[in-house]
Subunit: 218 residues, 2 copies
DNA sequence: CATAAGAATAAGGCTATCCTAAACAATATA
DNA sequence: TATATTGTTTAGGATAGCCTTATTCTTATG
């Protein structure tokens, strides 16, 4: 069983657990772009390896062992994102894919040294928390921008769709990057589209997009 | 066909071509630690892909296309070695393996930015030349230490067995690192064992080992 | 030049991962 | 509650890459 493949399954499951628990076969299939049948098969393998709990028709959940692997992978992924962004000058829109490849090629030693070199940062360029070597799942801070009411303001913390570089480029064009101050001027009653103020200019952003942006209310 | 596997074959063939041309099935099998039969099979696949020339029973040689891929991989490998050594503080004995993994996970963009970040170095921590983006195979400079005569001195340029960390540790203990000045005091007529002077102290080194160390005669 | 030794390939098999199509389970609806 | 819809698993099959064993080719030697 290729280590790489296993890791990709663990990552999907771990990420999906934030929203759905246990995680359904079809969600995993969609994220990994494989057939549901392949996922069923793989879940049985991961079960045998003690990485997930799994009951046919009952979805999957990471075991302690699986979760540990997942967090370590997330840590490596985000450390590489920091490196790519901070030292190689690659934009936050484009660091996800390369980090995805690099994380699977990172030994314990390199992960540790890389962490030290970067001064063990707390967040990746998208603002998402970087798990510590101590294995606790960090919680995604803040609430969705879409949940602010008209008149409320907040500070952007992170974005939770870091793999979508088109989306990130769009956010950049709006000035919506981690740390940015944003105020909701209006919410459309029809579909929730937001009128916001960023950098002293007024912009519009759809409900869908706004629900992927986490802010700290001010 | 996994990209990774293809790349590993190309690398073995490219490296072996320095000493043997065309490259025999069994040499590749030995380097990759797979059976000769598997190599035969793979060579047919690489042939179809236009990456090697290959005639059954006649060995293999990289095509222009194959050579380009090989040089690019070598470049990435050695750039990562420089990074691991210079920025993460990993010793030259230990940079080979991690670089081996990372090189296959490196996109064109990352390779280019990494090169710039490192200031496009000319050599890796083992002293081996780093191919330029312009695709010419760099010549390994110098001659084997084992070829110096008694009384001759030289400056160490590089080592050509960079994957053997035990060997590298041994060289470190002798003070034999790239740039070191070394003088041959005596060569045993029996088996060529050398008595050398490095850093004002006298050491012994076997013929085999000494043939892997390249020096520039002074 | 015949043959033995060594190298390479062919034949046949194994496993991991994926697929499609068909069967089956769970859920929502009438 | 019966049934339609949706989601999941099973069955059967493909391919990549590896293996072992048996055969074939090349080459070196008597």
């Amino acid at each position: 069983m290729s280590e790489r493949t296993v890791e990709e399954y663990l990552e999907s499951i771990g990420a999906l657990e934030e929203r759905e628990s246990p995680v359904s076969t079809s969600s995993i299939a969609q994220v990994l772009e494989v057939s549901p049948a392949s996922v069923s098969e793989m879940l049985r393998r991961l079960l045998r390896k003690g990485l997930v709990e799994y009951h046919p028709y009952g979805g999957a959940a990471l075991t302690e062992k699986g979760r540990r692997r997942f967090l370590e992978l997330t840590r490596r992924h985000r450390l590489w994102e920091v490196f790519l962004n901070r030292y190689l000058g690659i934009g936050w829109e484009d660091v996800y894919q390369p980090a995805c490849s690099l994380e699977h090629a990172t030994s314990d030693l390199v992960a540790e040294k890389l962490g030290k070199f970067l001064d063990n940062p707390d967040v990746c360029p998208h603002g998402s928390p970087i798990p510590k070597s101590n294995l606790k799942r960090p919680k995604v801070p803040g609430i969705p921008l879409a949940d602010l009411e008209a008149g409320q303001a907040g500070k952007m913390v992170c974005v939770v769709s870091e793999s979508n570089s088109k989306f990130l480029r769009y956010l950049t064009s709006l000035g919506l990057i981690p740390g940015a101050k944003v105020k909701v001027l209006e919410k459309a009653s029809f579909d929730g589209t937001l009128t916001i103020e960023v950098n002293n200019s007024t912009k519009a952003i759809g409900r869908e997009a706004a629900s992927l942006i986490m802010v700290e209310p001010v």
